[in-house]
Amino acid sequence: MTARRSGLRAIPLPLLLPIVGAATLIGVPLAALVVRAPWGDFASELSSPAVLTALRLSLVCSLSATLVSALLGVPLAWLLARVEFRGRRLLRALVMLPMILPPVVGGVALLLAFGRRGLVGLWLARLFDLQLPFSVAGAVLAETFVALPFLVMAAEAGFRQVDRRLEDAAATLGATRLRVFARITLPLAAPALAAGAALCWARALGEFGATITFAGNLPGRTQTLPLAVYLALETHPETAFALSLILLAVAIAVLVALREQWLAQ
Protein backbone atom coordinates (compact mmCIF):
# COMPACT_ATOMS: atom_id res chain seq x y z
CA MET A 1 0.00 0.00 0.00
CA THR A 2 1.42 3.38 -0.94
CA ALA A 3 0.49 6.57 0.75
CA ARG A 4 -1.07 9.01 -1.62
CA ARG A 5 1.01 12.13 -2.02
CA SER A 6 -1.06 15.15 -1.36
CA GLY A 7 -0.76 18.90 -1.79
CA LEU A 8 1.70 20.54 -4.15
CA ARG A 9 4.08 17.58 -4.02
CA ALA A 10 1.57 15.63 -6.12
CA ILE A 11 2.24 17.81 -9.19
CA PRO A 12 4.34 16.03 -11.85
CA LEU A 13 7.37 18.15 -12.68
CA PRO A 14 6.62 18.66 -16.43
CA LEU A 15 3.27 20.19 -15.51
CA LEU A 16 4.77 22.56 -13.01
CA LEU A 17 6.35 24.84 -15.61
CA PRO A 18 3.15 25.71 -17.52
CA ILE A 19 1.29 26.12 -14.24
CA VAL A 20 3.81 28.63 -12.96
CA GLY A 21 3.75 30.25 -16.39
CA ALA A 22 -0.01 30.73 -16.30
CA ALA A 23 0.01 32.19 -12.81
CA THR A 24 2.86 34.53 -13.77
CA LEU A 25 1.18 35.62 -16.97
CA ILE A 26 -1.85 36.83 -15.06
CA GLY A 27 -0.25 37.75 -11.77
CA VAL A 28 2.72 39.84 -12.83
CA PRO A 29 0.88 42.50 -14.89
CA LEU A 30 -1.67 42.94 -12.11
CA ALA A 31 1.11 43.19 -9.55
CA ALA A 32 2.87 45.76 -11.77
CA LEU A 33 -0.29 47.83 -11.79
CA VAL A 34 -0.35 47.83 -8.00
CA VAL A 35 3.38 48.57 -7.71
CA ARG A 36 3.46 51.36 -10.30
CA ALA A 37 0.28 53.09 -9.12
CA PRO A 38 0.85 56.68 -7.99
CA TRP A 39 0.17 55.88 -4.35
CA GLY A 40 1.64 59.21 -3.19
CA ASP A 41 -0.77 61.53 -4.96
CA PHE A 42 -3.60 59.14 -5.72
CA ALA A 43 -6.20 61.68 -4.68
CA SER A 44 -4.85 64.50 -6.83
CA GLU A 45 -4.59 62.25 -9.90
CA LEU A 46 -8.27 61.43 -9.55
CA SER A 47 -9.58 64.85 -8.62
CA SER A 48 -9.25 66.48 -12.03
CA PRO A 49 -12.64 67.46 -13.48
CA ALA A 50 -12.13 65.24 -16.52
CA VAL A 51 -11.54 62.17 -14.38
CA LEU A 52 -14.47 62.91 -12.09
CA THR A 53 -16.73 63.35 -15.12
CA ALA A 54 -15.64 60.01 -16.57
CA LEU A 55 -16.09 58.35 -13.19
CA ARG A 56 -19.60 59.68 -12.76
CA LEU A 57 -20.57 58.85 -16.34
CA SER A 58 -19.22 55.34 -15.94
CA LEU A 59 -21.29 54.76 -12.82
CA VAL A 60 -24.45 56.10 -14.45
CA CYS A 61 -23.97 54.11 -17.65
CA SER A 62 -22.95 50.81 -16.06
CA LEU A 63 -25.75 50.90 -13.49
CA SER A 64 -28.28 51.81 -16.19
CA ALA A 65 -27.01 48.99 -18.39
CA THR A 66 -27.35 46.59 -15.45
CA LEU A 67 -30.90 47.75 -14.79
CA VAL A 68 -31.89 47.39 -18.44
CA SER A 69 -30.20 43.98 -18.55
CA ALA A 70 -32.15 42.87 -15.47
CA LEU A 71 -35.48 44.08 -16.84
CA LEU A 72 -34.94 42.45 -20.22
CA GLY A 73 -32.75 39.54 -19.20
CA VAL A 74 -34.55 38.03 -16.20
CA PRO A 75 -37.75 37.14 -18.11
CA LEU A 76 -35.61 35.82 -20.97
CA ALA A 77 -33.58 33.67 -18.57
CA TRP A 78 -36.81 32.31 -17.10
CA LEU A 79 -38.04 31.44 -20.59
CA LEU A 80 -34.81 29.61 -21.41
CA ALA A 81 -34.89 27.72 -18.11
CA ARG A 82 -38.57 26.83 -17.88
CA VAL A 83 -40.33 26.72 -21.23
CA GLU A 84 -39.79 24.05 -23.89
CA PHE A 85 -40.11 25.41 -27.39
CA ARG A 86 -38.62 25.01 -30.84
CA GLY A 87 -35.61 27.21 -31.30
CA ARG A 88 -34.75 27.47 -27.61
CA ARG A 89 -31.15 26.39 -28.17
CA LEU A 90 -30.85 28.80 -31.07
CA LEU A 91 -32.20 31.66 -28.98
CA ARG A 92 -29.80 30.84 -26.16
CA ALA A 93 -26.86 30.75 -28.57
CA LEU A 94 -27.91 34.09 -30.02
CA VAL A 95 -28.17 35.74 -26.60
CA MET A 96 -24.78 34.36 -25.52
CA LEU A 97 -23.04 35.43 -28.73
CA PRO A 98 -21.91 38.88 -27.50
CA MET A 99 -19.78 37.11 -24.86
CA ILE A 100 -17.59 35.70 -27.62
CA LEU A 101 -18.06 38.32 -30.31
CA PRO A 102 -15.26 40.91 -30.46
CA PRO A 103 -16.77 44.02 -28.84
CA VAL A 104 -15.69 46.18 -31.77
CA VAL A 105 -17.81 43.98 -34.05
CA GLY A 106 -20.69 44.52 -31.63
CA GLY A 107 -20.13 48.26 -32.00
CA VAL A 108 -20.18 48.05 -35.79
CA ALA A 109 -23.35 45.96 -35.68
CA LEU A 110 -24.96 48.49 -33.35
CA LEU A 111 -24.03 51.29 -35.78
CA LEU A 112 -25.63 49.42 -38.67
CA ALA A 113 -28.79 48.91 -36.61
CA PHE A 114 -29.12 52.06 -34.54
CA GLY A 115 -26.76 54.46 -36.28
CA ARG A 116 -28.12 57.54 -38.00
CA ARG A 117 -28.56 55.59 -41.22
CA GLY A 118 -29.06 52.21 -39.56
CA LEU A 119 -31.96 49.84 -40.08
CA VAL A 120 -33.77 51.06 -36.98
CA GLY A 121 -31.84 54.27 -36.38
CA LEU A 122 -33.18 55.83 -39.55
CA TRP A 123 -36.72 55.51 -38.28
CA LEU A 124 -35.84 56.50 -34.72
CA ALA A 125 -34.41 59.73 -36.15
CA ARG A 126 -37.34 60.36 -38.50
CA LEU A 127 -40.18 59.50 -36.16
CA PHE A 128 -38.86 60.53 -32.76
CA ASP A 129 -35.89 62.73 -33.62
CA LEU A 130 -33.86 60.30 -31.54
CA GLN A 131 -30.17 59.72 -32.17
CA LEU A 132 -28.40 57.06 -30.17
CA PRO A 133 -24.78 57.32 -31.42
CA PHE A 134 -22.66 59.79 -29.45
CA SER A 135 -25.25 59.99 -26.68
CA VAL A 136 -25.32 58.70 -23.11
CA ALA A 137 -28.17 56.39 -24.14
CA GLY A 138 -25.91 55.05 -26.89
CA ALA A 139 -23.19 54.23 -24.35
CA VAL A 140 -25.77 52.47 -22.20
CA LEU A 141 -26.98 50.52 -25.25
CA ALA A 142 -23.44 49.42 -26.14
CA GLU A 143 -22.72 48.32 -22.57
CA THR A 144 -26.04 46.46 -22.36
CA PHE A 145 -25.34 44.65 -25.63
CA VAL A 146 -22.08 43.30 -24.26
CA ALA A 147 -23.08 42.72 -20.62
CA LEU A 148 -26.61 41.26 -20.97
CA PRO A 149 -25.43 37.68 -21.66
CA PHE A 150 -23.62 37.53 -18.32
CA LEU A 151 -26.84 38.23 -16.47
CA VAL A 152 -28.91 35.87 -18.61
CA MET A 153 -26.43 33.05 -18.16
CA ALA A 154 -26.33 33.35 -14.36
CA ALA A 155 -30.09 33.88 -14.05
CA GLU A 156 -30.93 30.88 -16.22
CA ALA A 157 -28.74 28.67 -14.05
CA GLY A 158 -30.45 30.14 -10.98
CA PHE A 159 -33.94 29.45 -12.31
CA ARG A 160 -32.98 25.88 -13.19
CA GLN A 161 -31.94 25.28 -9.60
CA VAL A 162 -35.38 26.20 -8.27
CA ASP A 163 -37.34 23.04 -7.44
CA ARG A 164 -40.18 22.80 -9.96
CA ARG A 165 -42.23 20.86 -7.43
CA LEU A 166 -42.47 24.00 -5.30
CA GLU A 167 -43.98 25.78 -8.30
CA ASP A 168 -46.46 22.91 -8.67
CA ALA A 169 -47.38 23.21 -5.00
CA ALA A 170 -47.98 26.93 -5.44
CA ALA A 171 -50.23 26.26 -8.44
CA THR A 172 -52.42 23.85 -6.43
CA LEU A 173 -52.88 26.67 -3.91
CA GLY A 174 -54.47 28.80 -6.62
CA ALA A 175 -51.49 30.91 -7.67
CA THR A 176 -51.43 32.05 -11.29
CA ARG A 177 -48.22 31.54 -13.27
CA LEU A 178 -47.28 35.16 -12.78
CA ARG A 179 -47.78 34.86 -9.04
CA VAL A 180 -45.75 31.66 -8.90
CA PHE A 181 -42.97 33.46 -10.77
CA ALA A 182 -43.05 36.56 -8.56
CA ARG A 183 -43.49 34.89 -5.16
CA ILE A 184 -41.77 31.53 -5.49
CA THR A 185 -39.40 31.27 -8.44
CA LEU A 186 -37.94 34.77 -8.33
CA PRO A 187 -37.16 34.91 -4.58
CA LEU A 188 -35.68 31.41 -4.64
CA ALA A 189 -33.44 32.37 -7.55
CA ALA A 190 -32.51 35.72 -5.99
CA PRO A 191 -28.91 34.86 -5.00
CA ALA A 192 -28.12 33.75 -8.55
CA LEU A 193 -29.80 36.86 -9.96
CA ALA A 194 -27.70 39.07 -7.70
CA ALA A 195 -24.55 37.27 -8.82
CA GLY A 196 -25.58 37.73 -12.44
CA ALA A 197 -26.26 41.42 -11.89
CA ALA A 198 -22.82 41.88 -10.30
CA LEU A 199 -21.07 40.14 -13.20
CA CYS A 200 -23.14 42.13 -15.68
CA TRP A 201 -22.28 45.39 -13.95
CA ALA A 202 -18.56 44.59 -13.87
CA ARG A 203 -18.60 43.79 -17.58
CA ALA A 204 -20.54 46.97 -18.38
CA LEU A 205 -18.16 49.07 -16.30
CA GLY A 206 -15.17 47.78 -18.25
CA GLU A 207 -16.76 48.00 -21.69
CA PHE A 208 -14.47 49.64 -24.24
CA GLY A 209 -14.71 48.32 -27.80
CA ALA A 210 -18.41 48.49 -28.50
CA THR A 211 -18.75 51.81 -26.69
CA ILE A 212 -15.99 53.64 -28.56
CA THR A 213 -17.17 52.21 -31.89
CA PHE A 214 -20.85 52.97 -31.48
CA ALA A 215 -21.02 55.82 -29.00
CA GLY A 216 -17.72 57.54 -29.64
CA ASN A 217 -15.46 59.21 -27.12
CA LEU A 218 -17.16 62.43 -26.06
CA PRO A 219 -16.14 63.67 -22.61
CA GLY A 220 -19.18 63.85 -20.35
CA ARG A 221 -21.42 61.93 -22.72
CA THR A 222 -19.79 58.74 -23.86
CA GLN A 223 -16.26 58.86 -22.45
CA THR A 224 -16.46 56.23 -19.75
CA LEU A 225 -13.60 55.13 -17.47
CA PRO A 226 -11.95 52.62 -19.82
CA LEU A 227 -11.97 55.19 -22.61
CA ALA A 228 -10.53 57.79 -20.28
CA VAL A 229 -7.78 55.36 -19.27
CA TYR A 230 -6.85 54.71 -22.88
CA LEU A 231 -6.74 58.42 -23.65
CA ALA A 232 -4.89 59.43 -20.49
CA LEU A 233 -2.17 56.88 -21.16
CA GLU A 234 -0.78 59.22 -23.85
CA THR A 235 -0.90 62.43 -21.91
CA HIS A 236 -1.18 61.71 -18.16
CA PRO A 237 0.05 58.14 -17.64
CA GLU A 238 -0.11 58.50 -13.85
CA THR A 239 -3.83 59.18 -14.09
CA ALA A 240 -4.26 56.13 -16.32
CA PHE A 241 -2.48 53.99 -13.72
CA ALA A 242 -4.69 55.29 -10.91
CA LEU A 243 -7.89 54.72 -12.89
CA SER A 244 -6.77 51.24 -13.88
CA LEU A 245 -6.17 50.44 -10.25
CA ILE A 246 -9.71 51.52 -9.41
CA LEU A 247 -11.13 49.23 -12.10
CA LEU A 248 -8.95 46.40 -10.82
CA ALA A 249 -10.19 46.97 -7.27
CA VAL A 250 -13.81 46.87 -8.47
CA ALA A 251 -13.19 43.61 -10.30
CA ILE A 252 -11.62 42.07 -7.20
CA ALA A 253 -14.52 43.30 -5.07
CA VAL A 254 -17.04 41.66 -7.41
CA LEU A 255 -15.06 38.44 -7.36
CA VAL A 256 -14.97 38.44 -3.56
CA ALA A 257 -18.71 39.14 -3.41
CA LEU A 258 -19.37 36.22 -5.74
CA ARG A 259 -17.10 33.73 -4.06
CA GLU A 260 -20.03 31.86 -2.51
CA GLN A 261 -21.81 31.61 -5.82
CA TRP A 262 -19.02 30.90 -8.26
CA LEU A 263 -15.89 29.93 -6.43
CA ALA A 264 -17.36 27.47 -3.95
CA GLN A 265 -14.63 24.91 -4.61
Binding site: L166, A170, T172, T176, R177
Partner: protein, 219 residues
Protein backbone atom coordinates in the same frame (compact mmCIF):
# COMPACT_ATOMS: atom_id res chain seq x y z
CA UNK B 1 -70.72 16.73 -4.66
CA UNK B 2 -68.49 13.86 -5.65
CA UNK B 3 -65.20 13.30 -7.36
CA UNK B 4 -65.51 11.11 -10.45
CA UNK B 5 -62.29 10.00 -12.03
CA UNK B 6 -61.36 7.85 -15.00
CA UNK B 7 -57.64 8.35 -15.35
CA UNK B 8 -55.51 7.24 -18.26
CA UNK B 9 -51.94 8.51 -18.49
CA UNK B 10 -48.71 7.15 -20.01
CA UNK B 11 -45.36 8.17 -18.61
CA UNK B 12 -42.65 6.41 -20.59
CA UNK B 13 -43.30 2.69 -20.24
CA UNK B 14 -45.61 3.17 -17.29
CA UNK B 15 -49.34 3.30 -17.90
CA UNK B 16 -51.96 4.39 -15.39
CA UNK B 17 -55.50 3.25 -16.08
CA UNK B 18 -57.92 3.51 -13.17
CA UNK B 19 -61.43 4.69 -12.44
CA UNK B 20 -63.06 5.51 -9.12
CA UNK B 21 -65.61 7.70 -7.46
CA UNK B 22 -65.31 9.41 -4.07
CA UNK B 23 -68.36 10.92 -2.41
CA UNK B 24 -68.60 13.99 -0.25
CA UNK B 25 -67.13 13.49 3.18
CA UNK B 26 -65.70 10.16 2.11
CA UNK B 27 -62.02 9.22 2.32
CA UNK B 28 -60.74 6.80 -0.30
CA UNK B 29 -57.36 5.24 0.38
CA UNK B 30 -55.19 4.42 -2.63
CA UNK B 31 -52.84 1.65 -1.56
CA UNK B 32 -50.36 -0.54 -3.37
CA UNK B 33 -46.65 -1.04 -3.98
CA UNK B 34 -44.19 1.66 -5.02
CA UNK B 35 -44.50 2.59 -8.66
CA UNK B 36 -48.12 1.48 -8.84
CA UNK B 37 -49.21 4.93 -9.98
CA UNK B 38 -50.70 6.30 -6.77
CA UNK B 39 -48.86 9.63 -6.86
CA UNK B 40 -49.46 9.98 -10.61
CA UNK B 41 -53.18 9.54 -9.95
CA UNK B 42 -53.12 12.39 -7.41
CA UNK B 43 -51.13 14.53 -9.88
CA UNK B 44 -53.79 13.99 -12.52
CA UNK B 45 -56.58 14.91 -10.10
CA UNK B 46 -54.73 18.10 -9.14
CA UNK B 47 -54.02 19.04 -12.76
CA UNK B 48 -50.25 18.64 -12.50
CA UNK B 49 -50.39 15.77 -14.97
CA UNK B 50 -52.73 16.04 -17.97
CA UNK B 51 -54.89 13.06 -18.90
CA UNK B 52 -54.44 11.37 -22.25
CA UNK B 53 -57.83 9.74 -22.05
CA UNK B 54 -60.56 9.62 -19.45
CA UNK B 55 -62.35 12.27 -17.49
CA UNK B 56 -62.23 14.02 -14.13
CA UNK B 57 -65.28 15.76 -12.72
CA UNK B 58 -65.79 17.36 -9.35
CA UNK B 59 -69.36 18.05 -8.27
CA UNK B 60 -70.47 17.68 -11.88
CA UNK B 61 -67.94 20.21 -13.20
CA UNK B 62 -65.53 18.67 -15.70
CA UNK B 63 -61.88 19.41 -14.82
CA UNK B 64 -60.14 17.33 -17.45
CA UNK B 65 -61.58 15.65 -20.52
CA UNK B 66 -59.18 15.42 -23.46
CA UNK B 67 -61.90 14.18 -25.83
CA UNK B 68 -63.96 17.28 -25.12
CA UNK B 69 -60.88 19.52 -25.11
CA UNK B 70 -61.40 20.55 -21.48
CA UNK B 71 -58.47 21.09 -19.13
CA UNK B 72 -58.81 23.20 -16.02
CA UNK B 73 -55.29 24.18 -14.80
CA UNK B 74 -54.28 23.35 -11.22
CA UNK B 75 -54.62 26.95 -10.01
CA UNK B 76 -58.30 26.98 -10.98
CA UNK B 77 -59.31 23.59 -9.56
CA UNK B 78 -59.59 24.46 -5.88
CA UNK B 79 -58.23 21.05 -4.89
CA UNK B 80 -56.03 20.96 -1.78
CA UNK B 81 -52.86 18.88 -2.08
CA UNK B 82 -50.68 17.75 0.82
CA UNK B 83 -47.46 16.54 -0.75
CA UNK B 84 -45.38 13.64 0.41
CA UNK B 85 -42.46 15.78 1.58
CA UNK B 86 -44.65 18.64 2.79
CA UNK B 87 -43.10 20.77 0.08
CA UNK B 88 -43.25 23.99 2.07
CA UNK B 89 -41.82 27.13 0.52
CA UNK B 90 -38.39 27.31 2.19
CA UNK B 91 -38.02 31.08 1.97
CA UNK B 92 -41.29 31.77 3.79
CA UNK B 93 -42.35 31.41 7.41
CA UNK B 94 -44.95 28.87 8.51
CA UNK B 95 -47.50 31.68 8.59
CA UNK B 96 -46.60 32.93 5.11
CA UNK B 97 -46.82 29.39 3.76
CA UNK B 98 -50.38 29.03 4.99
CA UNK B 99 -51.33 32.58 3.93
CA UNK B 100 -49.95 32.00 0.41
CA UNK B 101 -53.08 30.38 -1.00
CA UNK B 102 -55.37 32.91 0.67
CA UNK B 103 -53.40 35.77 -0.88
CA UNK B 104 -53.62 34.01 -4.25
CA UNK B 105 -57.40 33.90 -3.82
CA UNK B 106 -57.35 37.67 -3.44
CA UNK B 107 -57.82 37.95 0.31
CA UNK B 108 -56.05 41.06 1.68
CA UNK B 109 -52.75 40.62 3.47
CA UNK B 110 -53.95 41.20 7.03
CA UNK B 111 -56.98 38.96 6.71
CA UNK B 112 -54.86 36.24 5.11
CA UNK B 113 -52.35 36.34 7.93
CA UNK B 114 -55.06 36.32 10.60
CA UNK B 115 -56.70 33.30 9.02
CA UNK B 116 -53.38 31.53 8.56
CA UNK B 117 -52.60 32.09 12.24
CA UNK B 118 -55.99 30.54 13.11
CA UNK B 119 -55.19 27.47 11.07
CA UNK B 120 -51.81 27.00 12.68
CA UNK B 121 -53.39 27.29 16.11
CA UNK B 122 -55.99 24.70 15.20
CA UNK B 123 -53.12 22.41 14.23
CA UNK B 124 -51.61 22.98 17.66
CA UNK B 125 -48.54 24.78 16.31
CA UNK B 126 -49.54 28.38 16.98
CA UNK B 127 -46.12 28.98 18.54
CA UNK B 128 -44.39 28.37 15.21
CA UNK B 129 -46.03 31.10 13.10
CA UNK B 130 -42.79 32.96 12.47
CA UNK B 131 -40.53 29.92 12.13
CA UNK B 132 -38.90 29.54 8.74
CA UNK B 133 -40.24 26.51 6.92
CA UNK B 134 -36.73 25.11 6.60
CA UNK B 135 -36.28 25.01 10.40
CA UNK B 136 -39.38 22.93 11.17
CA UNK B 137 -39.29 19.29 12.22
CA UNK B 138 -40.86 16.67 9.97
CA UNK B 139 -44.07 16.47 11.98
CA UNK B 140 -44.41 20.24 12.25
CA UNK B 141 -43.82 20.64 8.51
CA UNK B 142 -46.62 18.14 7.73
CA UNK B 143 -49.01 20.06 9.94
CA UNK B 144 -48.13 23.33 8.22
CA UNK B 145 -48.62 21.61 4.86
CA UNK B 146 -52.02 20.33 6.01
CA UNK B 147 -53.00 23.80 7.26
CA UNK B 148 -51.83 25.31 3.96
CA UNK B 149 -53.97 22.90 1.92
CA UNK B 150 -57.07 23.30 4.12
CA UNK B 151 -56.82 27.08 4.42
CA UNK B 152 -57.92 27.63 0.83
CA UNK B 153 -61.25 25.89 1.64
CA UNK B 154 -60.61 23.24 -1.01
CA UNK B 155 -63.47 21.45 -2.71
CA UNK B 156 -61.54 18.19 -2.52
CA UNK B 157 -58.43 17.11 -0.64
CA UNK B 158 -55.50 14.98 -1.83
CA UNK B 159 -53.03 13.53 0.66
CA UNK B 160 -49.84 11.89 -0.57
CA UNK B 161 -48.41 9.71 2.20
CA UNK B 162 -48.83 12.42 4.82
CA UNK B 163 -46.90 10.44 7.44
CA UNK B 164 -44.08 9.03 5.36
CA UNK B 165 -40.63 9.20 6.94
CA UNK B 166 -41.87 10.51 10.29
CA UNK B 167 -40.83 8.80 13.50
CA UNK B 168 -43.49 6.86 15.37
CA UNK B 169 -44.50 9.57 17.83
CA UNK B 170 -44.75 12.26 15.17
CA UNK B 171 -46.67 9.83 12.98
CA UNK B 172 -49.24 9.19 15.69
CA UNK B 173 -49.49 12.90 16.43
CA UNK B 174 -49.97 13.98 12.80
CA UNK B 175 -52.38 11.12 12.12
CA UNK B 176 -54.53 12.15 15.06
CA UNK B 177 -54.50 15.79 13.89
CA UNK B 178 -55.45 14.72 10.41
CA UNK B 179 -58.24 12.44 11.68
CA UNK B 180 -59.85 15.36 13.53
CA UNK B 181 -59.70 17.64 10.50
CA UNK B 182 -60.93 15.00 8.07
CA UNK B 183 -63.98 14.48 10.27
CA UNK B 184 -64.83 18.14 9.66
CA UNK B 185 -63.92 18.17 5.98
CA UNK B 186 -67.03 18.11 3.83
CA UNK B 187 -65.60 17.31 0.40
CA UNK B 188 -64.19 14.14 -1.10
CA UNK B 189 -60.70 13.10 -0.01
CA UNK B 190 -58.14 10.76 -1.58
CA UNK B 191 -55.36 9.44 0.64
CA UNK B 192 -52.32 7.69 -0.77
CA UNK B 193 -50.61 5.46 1.77
CA UNK B 194 -48.48 2.38 2.32
CA UNK B 195 -49.62 1.80 5.85
CA UNK B 196 -52.70 -0.39 6.53
CA UNK B 197 -53.01 1.44 9.86
CA UNK B 198 -53.70 4.72 7.99
CA UNK B 199 -56.39 3.04 5.93
CA UNK B 200 -58.05 1.55 8.99
CA UNK B 201 -58.03 4.77 11.00
CA UNK B 202 -58.75 7.36 8.32
CA UNK B 203 -60.37 5.86 5.24
CA UNK B 204 -63.79 4.41 4.61
CA UNK B 205 -62.65 2.46 1.61
CA UNK B 206 -59.39 1.34 0.04
CA UNK B 207 -58.54 0.82 -3.60
CA UNK B 208 -55.48 -1.26 -4.39
CA UNK B 209 -53.39 -0.17 -7.39
CA UNK B 210 -51.03 -2.62 -9.04
CA UNK B 211 -49.02 -1.60 -12.11
CA UNK B 212 -51.30 1.33 -12.78
CA UNK B 213 -54.51 -0.69 -12.64
CA UNK B 214 -57.26 -1.24 -10.08
CA UNK B 215 -56.84 -4.33 -7.96
CA UNK B 216 -59.40 -5.38 -5.42
CA UNK B 217 -61.44 -2.90 -3.44
CA UNK B 218 -62.16 -3.39 0.24
CA UNK B 219 -64.30 -1.41 2.61
Amino acid sequence: MSLDAALSVHLGRFALDVAFRVDDGEVLALVGPNGAGKTTALGALAGLVALERGRIALGGVVLDDPDAGVFVPPEARGIGFVFQDGRLFPHLSALENVAFGLRAQGLPRRASRARARDWLERMGIGALVHARASTLSGGEARKVALARALAISPRALLLDEPFASLDEDAQRDVRETLRRHLAEFAGPCVLVTHDPEDTRMLAGRALRLVDGRCGQEDS
